[in-house]
Amino acid sequence: MDEPQIYARLTDIFQDVFDEESIRLTPGLSAKDVEGWDSLTHIRLILTIEKAFKIKFSTSEIGKLEDVGDLVALIEARA
C-alpha cells in the first residue's frame, strides 16, 4: 500500500471516528488541531486503524506518535 492509498484510507477512518466529514489529513495534523481528539478518542482511533489495516502497534509506538505523519510512516512500515 503506498502513501496516497494510506492517506485515503486514513481520511475515511478519521472522518468516521471523529464523526466529522470535513477533516483533511496533512502530515503535520495533530491532536491539538482536531476538536474531540482527546486521549480516549485517540485510543479509539488507534484501535480502529489497527483493525482496518490488520496490524498491531506496540505500546511504545503508540506513545511516540506525534502527528499524522508519524502514523502514516508507522503504517507504511507495517502494511
Partner: protein, 633 residues
C-alpha cells in the same frame, strides 16, 4: 475472535447506508424512538454505537421524546475506563427498548460513590447501579495452599462488595447489579491453580460463587461477566496492552457484546424479556421439507450429523419450555402434513402437547405470528421467530418489527447456539411458577374449548370450581409480585413498574394496603394472577396505585372478587372512599372501562385519555362470582 459473539451475528449486519440513515433520524414523520430502535437492531460496531449514542444524546438535549422507549437511569461504578463503554450502553439499550440515562461518576470513585449519601450516584436517584468491577479492583492476596487465609481473603472481598451494596441500598435504594469476575489468563502452577487454595484462579472462583449466592438471597441482579469471558475465551477477553495503556478491563472488540449483555439485563429488570418461541418446521425443526420428502425423507435421526443438529434445536426449545417459555409453530404447510412428524415420527423430541399454538397454513408468516400472539393474549414484543429461511426472516422483520428474528448461519449445527447467544429470554429472577407457565397457557386453550360446550358463561364459570386466595404481600410471593408488576401490560390500570426494593417497601409499610391474589380451578393452580397496591391519600381515602391482572384468567370476573376483598379491608380500616386511575398506554386499552364496569364514578378526564374514578365504600356491593374465597392475614 469467534465472530458469533464478538460481532453479534444473531443481528443482521449494519446497513450500507448506516451514516445516511443516522443523519435522517428525526427528520421524517416517523416516531424517533422506533427509528432509533430499528437502527440499533443491527450488529453495530463500537464506532457505530458511539455515533448512534451521539444522536440519542442530542435528541435528549433538544427535549425530543424517545417514546415508546422505556426510560431507565443506570449508574455505573467502575475501577476501569468506561468512557467508550457508556455510549455503547446507551445504543445497545435502545435495541432492547430502553432509553438509558447513564450516570457515570469520576474514574475509580467506587467506594465514595456507594457510601456517601450525597454522592453523584446516590443523589441522581438511579433505577439501578451496575458495579462494573474487574479483578484489578479486588484485594486478592496470594496465600498459596493456605485454605484459611484464602477463605479470609474471599470473605474480605465479599464483605467489601456487600458494604458497597449496603451503601447504595441505604442511600438511594436502587437495584444493585453485580458482575462476576473474569479470572486472569496467567496461571502460577498451571492446572493446579484451579485446585490449590489461594491462587488467583481459585480465589476468583470462590468470590464468584459467593456473589452468585448472595445475589440469589438478596434480590440483587447478577451479570455473569465471568461466564461471558469464558464463552468468548479469556485470552480474547483480557487485552493486557489496553489495560496498561488506558485501563480497559477487557478488549475493545468485545464492548458491543458486553454492552448488549448489560442492556438485556436492564430490559429483563423492566420485564421486557420475551415469552414465546415460534418455530418454523422445514429445515429448522427437522432437515428437509415434509411436504416433499415425506415422513421417511425428513432428517431428524440420532446418529445422522444433520439430524442431530435439528434435534439440538428441538432439545433447546424443550429446555426453554421447561423454564416457562411458550412454544408455537408457524409453518407454510398443509396442517395435517405438518402435524404428521409430531404424531408419528419416533425420533421427534417435540410433541404436539408441547406446542401452545400450531399454525400450519399457506398464509404469510407475519399474519400467522399475529394470530399466535392474539391466541396467547400476548404482545408481538413477547415473540421470537426462528426460521432458517432468510426471506421469511426479512418479511417478518419488515412487517412486524416488534418480533425478534435472529439471523441464522447456513449450518444448522449452530442454530441453537445462535438463538441462545441472542439472549431473548434473559431473566433476572426465577419464580417456581415459571416452571408451570407453559402449562397454564395450554390449559387455557382447554378451558376455552370447555367454554364452547358448557353453555352460558355463569355455568361455565361455576363448572371451573375456582378457589381464589387473597393475601397481603410477603417475602415468599415477592419475586412473582415484582415479575407481574414489571411484565403485565394489558390488564394493568396504571402500568407503574416497581423494583424489588420498592415492593419490599410497600410490603413493610403498614399504611399501604397490598394484595396478592391466587386462583386455582379444576385444571390446576394458576398461581399468582393479580396484584393490588392501595396507598393512603387524604384522610379516609385509599388511592389504588396499582391494579393488574394476568391475562390468562381474563373473563372470569376475578376483578369483581378482588374489589370485594379491597372493600372488606377498606371498611375494616375505616376508609370511606376508593379512588382509581386509568393511565392509558398503547397496550392497556383492555381496561379502559375497568372502573366503569365495577361501578366506580368518573370524576376526571384528561386529554391524554387518563381517567379518574371514585367509589364510596358504603353501599358498594360488586356482584359475586361462584368461587371459593380464602382470605389470609
Amino acid at each position: 475472535m469467534y465472530p458469533l459473539y464478538a460481532e453479534l451475528q444473531w443481528l443482521p449486519p449494519a446497513p450500507a447506508d448506516f451514516p445516511q440513515r443516522l443523519k435522517a433520524l428525526g427528520n421524517g414523520t416517523g416516531t424517533l424512538g422506533l427509528e432509533l430502535r430499528a437502527l440499533a437492531l443491527h450488529a453495530l460496531d463500537l464506532n457505530q454505537l458511539t455515533k448512534l449514542a451521539k444522536v440519542i444524546g442530542r435528541a435528549r438535549r433538544e427535549g425530543n421524546s424517545l417514546d415508546p422507549l422505556t426510560p431507565f437511569r443506570l449508574a455505573v461504578l467502575s475501577n476501569s475506563t468506561i468512557d467508550l463503554i457508556v455510549p455503547a450502553l446507551v445504543s445497545s439499550a435502545v435495541r432492547h427498548g430502553i432509553a438509558l440515562d447513564v450516570v457515570q461518576p469520576s474514574y475509580d470513585q467506587v467506594a465514595h460513590e456507594a457510601l456517601q449519601p450525597d454522592s453523584q450516584v446516590n443523589s441522581s436517584n438511579p433505577d439501578a447501579v451496575l458495579f462494573s468491577l474487574d479483578y484489578h479492583a479486588l484485594p486478592l492476596k496470594l496465600s498459596l495452599g493456605d485454605a484459611a487465609a484464602a477463605s479470609a481473603t474471599v470473605k474480605g472481598v465479599t464483605g467489601y462488595l456487600q458494604a458497597l451494596r449496603n451503601g447504595i441500598k441505604a442511600n438511594s435504594n436502587a437495584v444493585c447489579i453485580f458482575q462476576t469476575f473474569a479470572p486472569p489468563v496467567e496461571t502460577l502452577f498451571g492446572s493446579l491453580d484451579r485446585a490449590l487454595p489461594g491462587t488467583p484462579r481459585s480465589l476468583i472462583d470462590a468470590v464468584n460463587r459467593e456473589i452468585a449466592e448472595f445475589v440469589l438471597d438478596s434480590g440483587d441482579v447478577l451479570l455473569d461477566v465471568a461466564g461471558l469471558a469464558e464463552t468468548v475465551g479469556l485470552a480474547d477477553w483480557h487485552n493486557t496492552q489496553l489495560w496498561n495503556l488506558a485501563k480497559f478491563s477487557f478488549s475493545d472488540e468485545l464492548i458491543p457484546l458486553y454492552a448488549d449483555h448489560v442492556a438485556r439485563t436492564v430490559a429483563a429488570i423492566r420485564g421486557k424479556s420475551r415469552k414465546v418461541l415460534i418455530l418454523d418446521l422445514d429445515n429448522t425443526v427437522w432437515g428437509g421439507v415434509i411436504g416433499d420428502d415425506g415422513l421417511e425423507g425428513i432428517v431428524i435421526a440420532q446418529g445422522d450429523a444433520r439430524g442431530e443438529a435439528h434435534l439440538a434445536v428441538q432439545r433447546h426449545a424443550l429446555d426453554l419450555r421447561q423454564r416457562g417459555i411458550l412454544l408455537a409453530v408457524s409453518s407454510k404447510n398443509t396442517d395435517e402434513i405438518a402435524r404428521e412428524p409430531f404424531e408419528k415420527h419416533a425420533e421427534m423430541l417435540l410433541k404436539l402437547e408441547h406446542i401452545a399454538v400450531f399454525q400450519a397454513n399457506w398464509s404469510d408468516k407475519a399474519t400467522n405470528i399475529q394470530a399466535i400472539a392474539k391466541e396467547l393474549s400476548l404482545g408481538l414484543d413477547a415473540m421470537v421467530f426462528l426460521d432458517d429461511n432468510p426471506v421469511e426472516r426479512g418479511l417478518v422483520r419488515a412487517m412486524l418489527p416488534q418480533v425478534a428474528v435472529p439471523e441464522l448461519p447456513d449450518e444448522p449445527a449452530y442454530f441453537a447456539r445462535t438463538l441462545a447467544a441472542a439472549g431473548y429470554f434473559e431473566a433476572v429472577t426465577f419464580a417456581g411458577e415459571d416452571l408451570q407457565r407453559a402449562g397454564f397457557y395450554q390449559d387455557n386453550a382447554r378451558r376455552a374449548s370447555l367454554q364452547k360446550t358448557a353453555g352460558g358463561l355463569d355455568a361455565y364459570l361455576a363448572s371451573l370450581d375456582m378457589t381464589i386466595t387473597f393475601q397481603p404481600f410477603d417475602a415468599t410471593g415477592r419475586a412473582r409480585i415484582v415479575q407481574l408488576i414489571n411484565k403485565s401490560n394489558q390488564y394493568n390500570l396504571t402500568t407503574r413498574r416497581y423494583t424489588d426494593p420498592q415492593v419490599t417497601e410497600a410490603e413493610n409499610d403498614p399504611a399501604v394496603f397490598t394484595l396478592q391474589v391466587r386462583l386455582a380451578d379444576i385444571f390446576g393452580d394458576n398461581g399468582m394472577i393479580s396484584v393490588v397496591i392501595c396507598r393512603p391519600a387524604s384522610a379516609g381515602i385509599w388511592d389504588i396505585d396499582t391494579w393488574l391482572m394476568s391475562c390468562r384468567v381474563l373473563g372470569r370476573n376475578v376483578e369483581h372478587m378482588v374489589l370485594r376483598e379491597i372493600l372488606d379491608h377498606a371498611r375494616a380500616a375505616g376508609i370511606r372512599k376508593l379512588t382509581g386511575t386509568y393511565r392509558p398506554t398503547d397496550r392497556n386499552k383492555l381496561v379502559v372501562d375497568h372502573y366503569a364496569r365495577l361501578g366506580f364514578t368518573l370524576v376526571g378526564e384528561e386529554e391524554s385519555g387518563l381517567t379518574q374514578w371514585e367509589l364510596l365504600v358504603e353501599g358498594a356491593e360488586p356482584a359475586g362470582v361462584p368461587m371459593k374465597v380464602i382470605s389470609l392475614a
